[in-house]
């Protein structure tokens, strides 16, 4: 039994529904800070999943180490603010470009590899970056981590002040805005000539090269965009949580959860991964945790296996049409 057999909506409708849901969710949760904080993380994960899926779902290059870009963004922005006294907003943008640099450094050699080898090389890259962060103590304070990372500065719009230190609501909507921005970038990229090139590369690299698609350049560009967005979310995360350690910033779950979320939501769609992220966060929080204090991830493992086996296109993969 697949959802896809019952209803069919277009990508655009799915995106409108998703962002509409994200918009009103805080009202449903009556702006409860705790639930908002859960969904802030879900939105961060959603945005990273969108970026991951641009690379994997659209261009066909599966990465196993997006935590690298996430951590680079988080540490990059925090260090610019803590050590160089930058404004956090500016630092976030520059940190996102650090992510792009990381993408160029690993992508240039790694895109000569295919399939699991590429996925593994990114995994190795993530570990190397993490270990460097751990050992460049003079810069990063090693395993001690960075404490007291400033929150994003308050924004004044007329008489209204958007505070990012205490208020979960403003943080929530900023995270939602970032996810929307990333979605739009991916959407328009997908529907441009570059997007066509990406699909061609996904289909078959040799054929793509045959019709004149610059395969290597397309793949690298996709990784750069994906890394930029992921690093941006990492930077946001740092200013939201105020604390970083190599273990948390480069946590393997930033590599794994986007994959899981994309799979749940459907890799063949653009919006699916963010739906998947919201869904698995909700499931984990409201259902699995009710069963066990310890080891509620057990359910997560089972669910993952069940979804993969019985609906490999994702729960919504068949319901959302491309156009």
């Amino acid at each position: 039994m697949k959802l896809g057999n019952f209803f069919q909506i277009t990508e655009k409708t799915a995106a409108f529904l998703t962002f509409g849901f994200v918009l009103i969710l805080p009202v449903v949760l009556s702006f409860n800070p705790y639930y908002l904080s859960i969904f802030i993380i879900a939105l961060i994960l959603g945005a990273v999943s969108l970026s991951w899926n641009l690379l994997a779902g659209v261009c066909g290059q599966v990465s196993f180490g997006h935590a690298a870009f996430f951590g680079i963004g988080a540490y990059g922005s925090s260090l610019l603010v803590l050590k160089a006294g930058w404004n956090p907003f500016g630092a976030m943008i520059i940190a996102a470009f650090f992510g792009v640099m990381g993408a160029i450094i690993i992508g240039t050699p790694a895109f000569r590899l295919r399939g699991p080898y590429f996925a593994l090389s990114i995994l190795g890259f993530a570990e190397v970056v993490k270990l460097l962060t751990l050992n460049l103590t003079w810069l990063t304070d090693g395993s001690q981590g960075l404490f007291n990372i400033p929150a994003l500065p308050a924004i004044r719009i007329g008489s209204m002040t958007l505070d990012f230190f205490v208020s979960r609501t403003t943080n929530y909507y900023l995270a939602a805005f970032l996810m929307l921005a990333i979605y739009l970038v991916i959407y328009f990229l997908r529907h441009s000539n570059t997007g066509l090139a990406m699909s061609a590369v996904h289909g078959d690299e040799e054929t793509a090269a045959g019709i004149g698609v610059p395969v290597f350049r397309t793949k690298l560009l996709t990784l750069m965009v994906s890394a930029f967005c992921t690093a941006l979310m990492g930077a946001f995360y740092a200013h939201y949580v105020h604390f970083l350690s190599p273990d948390s910033a480069f946590d393997g779950s930033w590599s794994v959860m986007p994959i899981v979320a994309s799979l749940f939501g459907g890799m063949g769609t653009l919006i699916g991964p963010s739906i998947g992220a919201l869904l698995i966060t909700g499931l984990d929080e409201f259902i699995f945790k009710q069963f066990f204090e310890t080891g509620h991830k057990l359910f997560f493992g089972i669910l993952l296996a069940v979804v993969i086996v019985w609906t490999p296109k994702g729960l919504f993969g068949k319901s959302i049409r491309k156009k």
């Binding site: 751990l134 949580v241 604390f243 945790k289 310890t294 509620h296």
Partner: protein, 397 residues
């Protein structure tokens, strides 16, 4: 150190409150706790919760006040810890929070509890930076200097060592304790020719131990965790490492440790906040009671983490009631003040907090495992035996 301490009069007041508690039914207390129940630190988190749970039950019996205890798994993940605190303080509206394990979790968690103006007491975070912000609501039972002083003191006063090799796990707390120890030793004129960090999950310690051998160190200090002690001791045995003493940080020489390592745990030194029988004279009775209750509830001996967990629960619950007054008005303000005013003798020594929330009198003891028993050998005034020095599990020189 903690022998001349006097309980302040508020303790008497507390007893009065307890007495009255039977007369009027005080409203239930909601206490929240978060600790890793899964992930790499789950073992510690689970023990901690066991201790707190027992404290809550004991408190219910004694004070006749119902305690609602809410537990969240923070998965050793900072953002989950923050979420847990936000849920406890924001949704469940608990009166106070205890728990937390690991400085990198307690740091952000304590910030969240400060935002919600909810008192927070922990035993799982020793990083010095944590109290630098002087939060109103943050308290902890233990901090870094307590560990290091016991190690450095024994190395200087008992071993009279000249060269000490310090190796430590790359995790945050062990890095800090090692760095502090190095400074203290060097200030005392003791050379530290080998000072090296190893990664979590190291399985071959021989190359690093060989450096200790080449440098001719008298004492090997391993600031690490269970697996690091097991690994280093096994490898030191193979290499027949010629040092005169093996000193570990925490979690060494525990009953579990002795059970797993057998006679390989003989002679090792370790610091401990508490082990069965190390309570100061004045707290012996309390210690015996807690141990007995723990055993009857869980069919096992409490570890030091379980004991500390128990104490965090106990002091926090008492402080909430202390600040309680009339029904339904447990306020964070009064709870904080009660904690600040606390000065009592406990199985881990004298407990009192300074204005930053750091413990004022916290100190560890250094013990040596002798015939499977932990014999406290330092500080000398709490010592129960004499160090068998030189001596290492693998024979040594």
């Amino acid at each position: 150190m903690g022998s001349r301490m006097i309980k302040k009069c508020w303790c008497v007041g507390l007893l009065l409150v307890f007495g009255l508690g039977t007369a009027w039914a005080a409203p239930a207390i909601k206490i929240g706790t978060h600790a890793p129940q899964s992930g790499s630190l789950a073992k510690h988190g689970i023990e901690q919760i066991k201790g707190i749970r027992l404290a809550a039950e004991d408190f219910e019996k004694k004070a006749k006040i119902k305690v609602d205890m809410i537990v969240y798994d923070d998965e050793s993940n900072p953002q989950k810890a923050v979420s847990a605190v936000e849920k406890l303080a924001g949704v469940d509206k608990v009166n106070a929070i205890v728990g937390g394990y690991g400085s990198n979790l307690v740091g952000p968690a304590s910030e969240a509890s400060e935002r919600y103006d909810t008192p927070y007491l922990t035993m799982g975070a020793v990083d010095t930076k944590l109290t630098a912000k002087k939060f109103k609501n943050f308290f902890r039972l233990n901090n870094m200097p307590g560990y290091v002083m016991a190690q450095a003191g024994a190395i200087k006063d008992i071993f009279a060592a000249k060269k000490v090799g310090v190796i430590y796990s790359s995790l945050a707390a062990t890095t800090e304790i090692a760095t502090t120890l190095k400074g203290l030793l060097q200030k005392g004129g003791i050379a530290v020719p080998v000072f090296e960090k190893f990664e979590k999950g190291t399985t071959n310690y021989k190359p690093i131990l060989l450096k200790i051998k080449d440098a001719g160190c008298d004492v090997l200090v391993v600031e690490g965790y269970f697996e690091d002690y097991v690994g280093t001791i096994k490898d030191a045995k193979i290499l027949n490492l010629p040092v005169k003493a093996y000193v570990g940080a925490w979690g060494i020489g525990t009953p579990e440790f002795v059970r797993e390592l057998g006679n390989m745990s003989e002679y090792i030194y370790g610091t401990s906040i508490w082990e069965r029988g190390t309570a100061p004279q004045k707290a012996k009775k309390e210690e015996a009671e807690i141990v007995a209750n723990y055993k009857s509830k869980y069919q096992e001996d409490p570890s030091y983490i379980a004991m500390l967990g128990y104490l965090t629960g106990k002091y926090m619950l008492e402080a909430i009631v202390q600040g309680g007054g009339t029904a339904g008005t447990y306020s964070p303000e009064k709870t904080r003040n009660a904690l600040r005013a606390l000065d009592t003798m406990s199985p881990i020594g004298r407990v009192a907090f300074d204005e930053k929330g750091d413990p004022r009198f916290f100190t560890c003891v250094l013990f040596q495992t002798q015939q499977g028993e932990q014999v406290v050998i330092y500080p000398l005034d709490r010592a129960k035996g004499v160090a068998r020095y030189p001596g290492v599990p693998w024979g040594g020189k």
